[in-house]
Amino acid sequence: MFRFLLSRLTMIVPTFIGVTIAAFSFIRLLPGDPILLMAGERGVTPERRAELEAVMGFDRPLWEQYLGFLGDLLQGNLGVSIVTKAPVLEEFLGRFPATLELSVIAIVFAVALGLPAGVIAAVRRGSIFDHTVMGISLTGYSMPIFWWGLLLIILFSGILGWTPVSGRISFLYYFEPVTGFMLIDSLLSGQPGAFQSAVMHLILPAVVLGTIPLAVIARQTRSAMLEVLSEDYVRTARAKGLSPARVIGVHALRNALITVVTVIGLQVGVLLAGAILTETIFAWPGIGKWMIDSIFRRDYPSVQGGLLMIASIVMLVNLIVDLTYGLINPSIRHER
């Protein structure tokens, strides 16, 4: 187990360096000039421009800028936004709870629905339920997020008027953030109706964001279960006279989970990518929306810092998944 962990950790270092290069260069490859964008319609004189470039360090050669970025990074400094002049890390951490809350609820939604749907579809292979679930999940998987989000807004907010269109909570409520998670903060505030408002605001974005993971989890659970259900040990479990619920829910599912957990972990990357679209549609004040705004403003430090943080989170989650994999699969745990 220790060696397993060590090998995963050593793989992270080169990946991380690769991510810094990608994060640093991608935003600079985009056409557009941050200084011109800041100056707006008034334009900027060549003198002022040179001055600003010197302040922001854009006058130095690219490799020097990259090394500077890397050097700051090693000291835990992601740089300062050239638009807001606030530290990038601060900006990121301020918005991250909103994204985290949305993502967690989305993945809970996806697992809570996808896992049982996949299991039942596998057990009743070929049934109407199976075909329906697989049909729906293929549709869900193929659905463009922004379009799906708009459809849901039109139906539930526009026609039915059940849910709000955007934001995290109604303007009627105001309280200082404690944890940054609106569901918890609204409960802590003690204001009547605040929690319900937060929930109503969260439902649609979470459903939209969770749709693709839901489809993937349902399909993968089904195929993992189908494979496991034909295993000899499932027959053994039946020969022991165990109830179908125990044969399927314990003996089969436990083994199927080994693959499904990996799939769920991989969905975290999908989730963060999806968050960018979802947050834009629902004006959800998280890192997705912030990243989009930063890209439009060519806010180089914010974009590269944000990308790096997101990539690190994905890597961290994958590491955790690898470790969980070791926990639920005994033959990896005992590898020496």
């Binding site: 040990y233 053994t236 479990a237 022991k240 165990l242 436990r254 033959s331």
Partner: protein
Amino acid sequence: MSLLSIRNLSVRFKTAHGLFTAVENVSLDVEHGEVLAIVGESGSGKSVAMLAVMGLLPWTAEITADELVFDGVDLNSLQPKARRELNGGSMSMIFQEPMTSLNPCFTVGAQIDEMIRFHTDEDKQQRKQHALELLEQVGIPDPQKRYHDYPHQMSGGMSQRVMIAMAIACSPRLLIADEPSTALDVTIQAQILELLLDLQATHDMGLILITHDMGVVAETAHRVVVQYAGQQVEMQPVLELFEHPRHPYTAALLSALPERARRDQRLPTIPGVVPGQFDRPQGCLFNPRCRFADDRCRTTPPLAAAADRALTLCHYPLSYSPEPGA
């Protein structure tokens, strides 16, 4: 009354190309404390017949039987819950592939414990004690330590011992062993068979031994059923079978035993393979491979007839010679 009696058991599978008959009109009895061997090549339906008895076939299987009675209980009409109480309780089964028959996610201790928990009222401590005794009984060294091992930490022989320990945990009256030693090394094979026979004798269980190894049959069984292409072609007590095989197929199987071969001859074989779903011959299913087949065999299927204790499915049962045609 027999422990298990089966009359005209047939199993058909629904496939994309219609029904496939895997087992056809198998009838047999197992007495209390008897060792019955079912012999046949791969594809002869011996495992399927016994899986049908255990109720372990997938839903695509269509099982029919005029009589399927275990210990006075009619298995045909049994409710699923009562059926599950029998499985693992009064009748158990072990399988060909011990390495894949244990669940890789649970310790062997937990898997034995689960069996005892479902079929007895023992409390946690008693169950642990019971499981350790079982491991000891099936010859696993250091049961205290092995109790906490996962299946992947065990060899094939050890895994099969665990399977046996689990199968006999609730003192079943019938144990079905589906090629229990086939996947194991030759030296381990003998140990496992010996263990099974030992346990069979001490617990006075009925034991159905599915095998394709005539050598195993000779050493273990009291009575022998020979199956071919889903049909039961012969049933005799073991000594009579080895001395006077009635069906040409049995005779051919016996003469293919290396022990029986003559030094100056090539080892006899049976040409061809067991017919599958699409190449079932007309008449007797064995006729394309039978050296005695004539036109009657090629057109008319034989009917099972009780000819002096040997139920033989053949138009021309051999009379006495162990070396047909000699």
